[in-house]
Symmetry: C2
């Protein structure tokens, strides 16, 4: 029997499990009319955004498909694989978000019964996204194998799939990110700062757009981001060892060409089974304190990690591969867990880094911001050390191939880690719905506990996503070098240095563009909310309803418009560098972009997370509590951090992977080219 049926069947199993979860969520009580009304508005806005986003995306997909098809060294099979990748990613995002937006109202309703009920609905709602991403990913790759496995042009075809996934990801992550933060800052600036009304207040016209944003940014966006990492890390590993056989005939530690496919797919398949078991393990007992909640999620992830390690060992054994590969997988797996934990240290208000930011808020917004930014910069230390350690260990035990498969190790438990991540926005939305539905305060307390847990898992998830992106992009870069025939990438060559410097610059420019995009979009929202407060009589007194839909529309339109420039730059940059300066410079460019993108992404995500929680710590009564000067200063810090942590930072993940996979796709075109200069 072809071993490739195992991952395919595991993928089908994952889908079956996702369907079970969907039925579970849909069978839950939809709650009161008010809840259904709000939830309905969120669903409508989210689907409207996704619809428009996919339409814009379709134009790009068609153009790129045609280009790929007509370029002589690529061709229509590559183009087909590209479309297939794009559809796979879009499908995973669509299903996952569709269920997430149906879970929020149900979570609010379940929380009326008990905290445990609330957690169950929210977590299962989020798990659909997790399971869809890994299952669709592995099924898609299996199909590519069954159709093209024997195609002589295979090494160009499979990266096409990853490129399709990456293209969807940049739209989903950056577009969703711009949307969510523009709506959020818009709502906050007019609501909290100017009008002095609380968060999630129904009088605020941008409040529904804000809820929509959580779903399109943190559910659909995050899902697409990790779908991309997941399939790209597998693709990088497969191509790396296939090229080793077909091009340079080096021994890649796996015994034959087929195992080049089998091993990565089997490790990933083991991760799916482990994740399903882990998801089942998540339940809280009678002690619904914060620690118990966090403990429940941790237990699930931990069990999944152990099982994945065991399954990986068997996969290595089954394929007669070198045992060193197992150590490489393990190093990636452990590094992923540690990166998540370190993120938690730098962003949770249980630890001193964030507390110091709260303290610095006493001397004003300026010192709050400086301290938070410094914290973000400082927090790059552990992830870099863990990634470096994983690379060195993986390389020691299994050479360059080890580095690539370490990435698969890191991502193997994605099914459950993405579930804990997607749970966050569901809980956040549920809290907002409770706030807007005038339910009793104890229900809000319960959803607040769920939300607060969601913030922690979101921070951990972001750290994990960045680490995974960096190691995946690195693996893709290594594959690119092999594919284009670079045996040694000499940094003493002026072109490589030039490429490296340009590569280091590009994430900075990308950040600037996305930060400005949020600013411009939120400016439109602010004006709209102000207009509604001015023109709609009785709105401030709660006698009239704002026009939520207007804000949703404006946000959708502007976010997608602002997305074009950074998206185009990301797609064109590797092509332009490769064409003008040649393939060596492009390799330098990619590694520069990965390194700098990693640093900037961690800095932005963690600075943003710690500003957010520094504000929350003050809200627990520290340094004067809510409404104090320190709190006002902390709110400014949070506003600065929002687009950093939810737009620019996470979008960088996609950016570095997308550029790397484009390089890999165009490698056959670049091979032998020396550049213009």
């Amino acid at each position: 029997m072809d071993l490739m049926f195992i991952p395919f069947i595991c993928g089908i199993g994952g889908i079956a499990f996702a369907i079970y979860l969907v039925f579970y969520v849909l069978s839950c009580d939809q709650g009161s009319e008010r809840i259904r009304e709000i939830s309905g508005a969120i669903q409508e806005g989210a689907m409207a955004f996704l619809g428009r986003e996919y339409r814009v995306l379709a134009v790009f997909v068609i153009i790129i498909t045609i280009i790929l098809g007509i370029v002589p060294n690529l061709g229509w099979w590559v183009a087909l694989s590209f479309i297939f990748g794009a559809i796979s990613s879009a499908l995973a995002g669509f299903i996952g978000m569709n269920i997430a937006i149906r879970s929020n109202g149900r979570t609010a309703t379940a929380a009326e019964k008990s905290l445990n009920d609330g957690l169950k609905v929210a977590f299962r709602g989020g798990s659909v996204m997790g399971m869809c991403v890994v299952s669709i990913g592995i099924i898609g790759l299996s199909i590519i194998y069954f159709i093209f496995g024997k195609n002589p042009n295979f090494l160009s075809i499979i990266p096409g799939y990853g490129m399709g996934a990456s293209l969807v990801a940049i739209f989903a992550r950056a577009g969703g990110g711009i949307y969510t933060k523009a709506a959020d800052t818009g709502a906050d600036l007019v609501g909290k700062v100017e009008k002095g009304i609380p968060e999630d207040d129904p009088r605020n016209a941008a409040v529904i757009a804000d809820f929509v944003g959580d779903n399109v940014g943190d559910v659909a966006g995050m899902g697409a981001d990790l779908f991309e990492s997941y399939v790209d890390s597998i693709i990088a590993t497969i191509t790396l060892s296939m090229i080793a056989f077909t091009v340079s005939m080096k021994n890649p530690l796996t015994p034959n060409e087929l195992t080049a496919w089998y091993l990565p797919m089997l490790v990933a398949a083991g991760g799916i089974i482990a994740s399903i078991i882990g998801v089942f393990m998540v339940r809280v007992g009678e002690r619904p304190e914060m620690e118990a909640l966090l403990g429940a999620l941790r237990k699930g992830t931990f069990i999944a990690s152990i099982l994945t390690a065991i399954f990986s060992f068997f996969a290595v054994h089954l394929t007669n591969s070198d045992l060193g590969i197992f150590w490489a997988i393990l190093s990636g797996l452990i590094a992923g867990v540690l990166i998540g934990e370190s993120t938690n240290y730098f962003t949770s208000y249980a630890y001193s880094p964030t507390q110091k930011i709260s303290e610095a808020s006493q001397t004003g917004a300026g010192t709050n911001i400086t301290r938070g930014f410094a914290n973000g910069l400082m927090s790059t230390f552990p992830p870099i050390i863990f990634v470096v350690a994983a690379i060195l260990i993986a390389n020691k035990f299994a050479d360059v191939y080890g580095v690539a498969i370490a990435g698969i190790g890191m991502l193997s438990t994605l099914g459950i880690s993405l579930a804990t991540d997607a749970y966050g926005p569901v809980a956040d939305n549920a809290g907002g719905i409770v706030e807007m539905s005038d339910l009793p305060p104890e229900i809000r307390e319960r959803t607040d506990a769920l939300d607060s847990l969601g913030n922690t898992t979101a921070a951990t998830g972001k750290g994990f996503a960045i680490g995974a992106a960096a190691i995946t992009a690195l693996a893709l870069m290594l594959s690119y070098c092999q594919a284009v025939g670079i045996e040694t990438l000499d940094l003493l060559n002026a072109k490589t240095i030039a490429g490296l410097l340009l590569g280091v610059m590009i994430p900075a420019i990308f950040c600037a563009m996305t930060l400005n995009a949020v600013g411009k979009t939120s400016f439109s929202i602010i004006n709209e909310v102000r207009r509604q407060f001015k023109e709609i009589k009785g709105l401030m007194e709660g006698k009239a309803r704002p026009e939520y839909g207007k804000c949703v529309d404006i946000c959708t339109r502007d976010a997608l418009k602002q997305l074009i420039a950074p998206g185009m730059m990301t797609i064109l940059a590797p092509i332009v560098v490769g064409y003008i300066l040649g393939p060596l410079a492009l390799a330098g460019f990619l590694i520069g972009a990965v390194a700098c993108g990693f640093i900037l992404a961690v800095t932005m995500a963690n600075a943003g997370g710690s500003w957010d929680n520094a504000k929350k710590w003050i809200e627990t009564g520290k340094f004067g509590g809510k409404g104090s000067d320190a709190h006002k200063a902390a709110v400014v810090g949070d506003t600065v951090g929002d687009p950093m942590k939810d737009t620019s930072g996470p979008s960088l993940n996609i950016m570095i992977k997308l550029m790397s996979i484009i390089a890999l796709v165009i490698a056959p075109v670049l091979a032998g080219w020396k550049g213009l200069f």
Copy 2:
């Protein structure tokens, strides 16, 4: 005749010119008793700081000297060269700052007569620093040549000189930077924000410390920074071509070993003569408008650049070198000028990037900060493009050697460019003195015009300093690779990648440390100023004087204490990386640090500069003018930008050069070492 006498004599000429300028400045009217009193307090504070700083420094110098002396492959000649470098840099900083602090009161007094008189005194005061740096640098290197030129161990001895200069630089730039910004933010936060009194108000206890900071940070610190770049770029070029002869016997385009020395030194010598002529050309006519002032400085720099190009051509001819080297020099020279101009575009309120930040201030501090930060990130584009272009052109015409000598080209007009830079703090101080002396408003207007010009030249100077640092560090890295015997630096090697990732991280950590250092130091100042307002009766009413000296003391003590950790990290990092991961990883580490340090330094310097000027633009009456909500938001942005642009950003310049020169110094120890891992 040994051609090396030419640079030596030019250096002596530069010193003679500096002495002439000193006499000119000292012969000017010291002004009223009040002016002399204030100026005296600044002088006292500045000298007290420098004294303490040099004492701390002396301890480091002695320890490192002993270590260098006893390490087998280095020895006492290296140690001696190191001490000599440290003393040279300290001397240049001491003389330059000594005159700058004597020029401020005299500039204020001269401004009472006319704008032109004020400009003349301020610019000549600043020129002393410029001339001292280049002259002492070239004389120091000539002496090294005369003493050690024939020493077989020469290739280890000459980098020692640069390392000494670098060590002084990190203390002067980072220590001075922490001092100046802690005093500035401390003064602003209590004075402007809490008490609502104007800038430079004599009731503010931190105001003298703030003036002192301008001198120790922007005069002494900037001088040491560029002294380091200046000598390091020459050292890198010399070692690169010497090693080419002695180690690999490649043709470095210069005809023999002696020209390895002659050419860089002659180019630098030509730059000194050109700078002297340029300084003489700076004068304004009867139209003392802003454009005329800026035009006068520009004319001087422009003439110096043209002359340097001509002199360089003759230097290439005189040494029978390849004409390609001339093009390499020219590419560096032009890149330096363009980088300065681009900085001006991104930070001056005459252009849209800064105006947009002012506009964003209308929606609060949050949007102001996001916009400014995005602007800083975006501003990395031109400097990277210019440096990349210079590298590619220089490399095309003169190989790796061209990259190194392009750095000399960029720095050759340092005499005058540093003069326009050091002019800034003198004018700034003069303005403050006028404010504190109750002189008529028209005098303040004149010094404001001078100060405003100083801000522009400071921004240009900072951009120039960063570009020069990047290309110098790169040249040192190339020399290091040659010295340690790395023929190709393979980026596909896991250790090189690991080194690169660690290198990219280190500037981020360094920034975090220095930002926090400013925060901690300013916290002490804030408490002290608050205490004085509370405890000194009649202070707020202007009936009592604050105790300025206390603030100066606290700032000195804390700034130097906070400097130890980042300083130690910078010194130890290359040694630790080289020891644990080996010389290949260290090379990757250096290039990662240079690339990321470059990006971060530009971002921080330009974001900070643009926040500052966005505030100033609002103060001209835009968006509600002074006191409006937009202005308050812009003040927060300025507070955030201050430590970025004057502490962390500029200190990164030193950091990347210091690590590179340490690597070059320890190259003989590392050669053949494989690392522990």
